[in-house]
Subunit: 331 residues, 2 copies
């Protein structure tokens, strides 16, 4: 405590002196943050530094001093004072545990977030971008354009269904005879085996067909994630990958109701009333599907790494934005 008092006194004095110098150089009638005798100001600051739940006040006081210092015209003086400001900030951070030092980071979430800056994911992990979207927000269009720009594969419900259909058509072929370097054939073989298991399971345990399909899809997604980069639209892919500890980035794309309805009217040549009805119906369907298989609320920002308002960007710029977010250049 005595040690801390000494350091707090030093910090308080340096803050007060900085404020004085800033005031002298700005010359504004509003330039002074701490008003009163030096002793009173420094004692007030020490009290702030000692307090555990006033770190917000302290931070705001520091911001006031810095905001003022940044208006100093003389570049040399400004740089000197800003350097002292940074030094004081670091000193506070090193000595005051409640000053911005409690992070919000959830290691569980961040470990799986491949758009984080630091290289938490291994070089062997593939770039997987999961896009959820509200109907009419152009989320699938953004995903398709993004996959093309990154030259990686694109999967949506139709592509996946087509894959299943083909796998199903081939289910009687001798998988062991297919070359093992054909990634799709390897997936197909596994899925086919899984399919048979599921058919048996379903037969004996009464698993509904939709659930069986969902579980098969989950298996396919995890196998693809081990082998290739891709963009996947919907299918609760974010939750499936999280549950299987596979790094990815999860993005929710939405837009204001009117913007989505307007786009549907134009794209499908329908009336506002019809667009509205479809929008509500399809959003609800998505919501039910997501809740059923993830137990989470679809479209709530806390379930994704990021949410993007596509109406504020448009398709092309949303693609550019995601490229910046994942730190990749177009190939």
């Amino acid at each position: 405590m005595t040690d801390n008092n000494e350091i707090y006194k030093e910090i308080a004095t340096r803050i007060y002196n900085l404020d004085t110098k800033v005031y002298e150089n700005v010359g504004s009638s509003l330039g002074r943050t701490f008003i009163g005798t030096p002793e009173k100001c420094i004692n007030d600051l020490i009290r702030l530094l000692c307090s555990d739940n006033q770190s917000y006040t302290l931070r705001s006081e520091m911001a006031l001093v810095a905001n003022m210092a940044r208006t100093i015209r003389d570049k040399k003086v400004r740089n000197t004072l800003m350097r002292e400001y940074n030094n004081i900030l670091q000193l506070i951070q090193a000595n005051k545990s409640s000053f911005t030092s409690v992070d919000i980071l959830s290691t569980d979430l961040a470990r799986l977030n491949s758009s984080a800056v630091k290289n938490r994911i291994s070089k062997n992990d593939h770039l997987i971008i999961c896009i959820s979207r509200s109907h009419g927000s152009a989320g699938a269009d953004i995903g398709f354009a993004l996959a093309d720009k990154l030259r990686i594969n694109y999967y949506d419900v139709e592509v996946l269904n087509e894959l299943f259909k083909r796998i199903d058509e081939k289910k009687d072929i001798d998988w062991d005879a297919t070359p093992t370097d054909d990634p799709l054939a390897v997936s197909a073989r596994n899925i086919s085996a899984h399919h048979s298991r599921l058919r048996d399971f379903s037969r004996y345990h009464g698993l509904p067909k939709a659930d069986a399909a969902f579980f098969t899809e989950s298996t396919l997604l995890c196998e693809m994630a081990a082998k290739e980069d891709f963009v996947v639209i919907g299918r609760c892919a974010d939750t499936i990958l999280s549950n299987n500890h596979i790094p990815h980035i999860s993005i929710y794309i939405t837009a204001p109701f009117e913007a989505r309805a307007k786009r549907m009217m134009e794209a499908d040549n329908i009336s506002f009333k019809t667009a509205l009805k479809q929008l509500i119906k399809i959003d609800r369907k998505h919501e039910r599907f997501y809740r059923k298989y993830t137990g989470k609320k679809w479209g709530s920002a806390i379930n994704y790494d990021l949410c993007i308002n596509s109406a504020a960007y448009g398709i092309d710029e949303a693609v550019e934005l995601i490229m910046r977010i994942i730190n990749r250049e177009a190939k």
Copy 2:
């Protein structure tokens, strides 16, 4: 229509031929997207191209061909086929209005979004970052660190209140005598005049004090926006700036309930139960404040350009992420 038919036939034939070449080079038993006689396949494709509401199917078929082509090992062959794929895509886009050509862009929203890639905002506009945040999500900490990294001013409710207090204390001074090159003094003079007007207005029209304060704050924000770059936390700044046609970027920062509660427990040394109670109470307060002054739902992704899950990034990486989003390097 006849013209379109000719072009559609060309596109369909080229898609079919591309699929054939991809199939030959992949050699996978699943490699073929279009199965049947060439005539049947090409006619099916023409039907898809003619249809107005099957562009999703067509896009998915194209994605299947591209996904397969990307697995071709021979780089030269792969590049040739992907080039043909891109050419076909462009041909479809040029000739088919319903194929990803209906953008979701809302010019009203995008015009005010300064994180968009294209230079819609003028060079005279300042960089203004509006951060809304749920309690405990470290949104203010992220904003404070971001302002420091960008070397721009930081405003939160305490900094703004302090400004007001000082302006109020100085309200009797002769503003005309203060130098006009002191930005704060100029603001202060305007605010002071505005304050007096509001006092009069309030006296005569019964405007509640909270509303008067909000309107004064709005005036101050717009005046600052004309003069400087800054980060502002809360205060419905996004809506105030939008209503005044001032470009900015609006970001909502949140994190899962448990992550926020855990952080509060650690930062404020309180129990989970207390943290929970405070969280609910403060979130509700924010929500009411936002609804009262904007008429919009606080925390709904459609009201911001972007939402960030701070638990998936942590403070430092959220700052890095926003730097990438706004396309700026640290100064």
